[in-house]
């Protein structure tokens, strides 16, 4: 049974690196737990970021403040005041009232680089696909949707977020951008 399993010496794992996929906190060396996250965190750019100094975690919350209500059927565009040299690595969404309370509640999101025009999604993504409480997958590191590779926003760039409220009622639509910020 163990023949196909690679032995990992626990003494060679950097336990101080919270994003080390080998630390087994939620993704673990067993790829069956979450191969996508494991692969993301094994990405060469991630390895470089994890080994870098003077980085701080940062969460950009949209809208700011989060209790801003977006009217039914309306599109909400905002420039997110991201600090220079930020790396976007994961995101998640939330809607209030929750979709369980009203299945019609949903919204679309898109994130665009203000300078290059590059978009994170090929077309606007449905928030329920990025939402931790839907699909019974609200667990641990599944709280967030990790990008396949961290995305840099270099000066003077910043993200432009578009939220489209699809529901027939006025709801609070939240999008959270999880970043690492260079402090130098």
């Amino acid at each position: 049974m163990l023949a196909g399993k690679k032995w990992i010496d626990p003494r060679k794992i950097d336990w101080t690196d919270s994003m080390n996929p080998l630390t087994g906190r939620g993704w673990g060396p067993d790829p069956s737990r979450n191969p996508f996250m494991f692969d993301t965190l094994s990405d060469p750019i991630w390895l470089a970021i994890r080994g870098a100094h003077d980085l701080e975690p940062r969460i950009l919350v949209v809208p700011d403040p989060i209790d801003e209500v977006i009217p039914a059927g309306q599109t909400y565009d905002t420039n997110v005041p991201m600090e220079p040299n930020s790396w976007l690595y994961a995101l998640n969404t939330w809607i209030t009232p929750a979709e369980e309370e009203d299945p019609a509640n949903d919204f679309f999101v898109q994130i665009t680089d203000a300078v290059t025009g590059a978009q994170v999604f090929s077309q606007q993504a449905r928030a329920t696909n990025l939402q931790p409480a839907i699909g019974n997958n609200r667990s641990g590191n599944g709280l967030r949707a990790f990008l396949s590779s961290p995305r840099a926003f270099l000066p003077p760039s910043y993200p432009v977020v578009r939220i489209v409220n699809l529901s027939g009622s006025n709801v609070k639509c939240n999008l959270n951008l999880f970043c690492a910020v260079e402090m130098r």
Partner: protein, 135 residues
């Protein structure tokens, strides 16, 4: 690569440390719709604390925003607990890059707001690595 947890770093010129797993627990009760700011999560006086994971439980929804060791807030605005606090102790939300809080500091100061409209018992486990200076 960090030193092996629980093993002193051998060096004649540099301070020596021991690193071991640690969990800093926090419990707070919010009244309905109450908003509090900068609630400390005290760090042990004998060791620095590297915050790498977060999980917890609550009796209702709330929003939170912790501060970083630099004094800045981690979030630009308070974030939904369901978007940030893992409910599973075996799968805490990975905090990365992990911030290092100095020994004896106030730790991550928490802004908390109840959004459930009822009394809300919040329990948080800040998991990570404790670094104790031995020489």
């Amino acid at each position: 690569m960090s030193p092996t947890p629980g093993t002193p770093i051998a060096s004649s010129n540099e301070p020596q440390y021991v690193e071991e797993a640690a969990i800093v627990t926090f419990e707070y009760t919010l009244n309905a719709n109450q908003h509090v700011t900068r609630v400390p999560v005290p760090i042990d006086r004998d060791s620095d604390f590297l915050w790498t994971g977060l999980n917890g439980s609550e009796t209702g929804s709330y929003t939170l925003n912790p501060t970083l060791p630099s004094g800045r807030y981690m979030c630009t605005s308070e974030i939904q607990n369901a978007n940030f606090v893992s409910p599973d102790a075996n799968q805490p939300t990975a905090i990365g890059p992990p911030p290092l809080y100095r020994a004896g500091s106030s730790g991550p100061l928490l802004d908390l707001t109840d959004t459930s409209g009822q009394t809300n018992l919040i329990t948080l486990s800040f998991s990570g690595i404790r670094r104790i200076r031995t020489a």
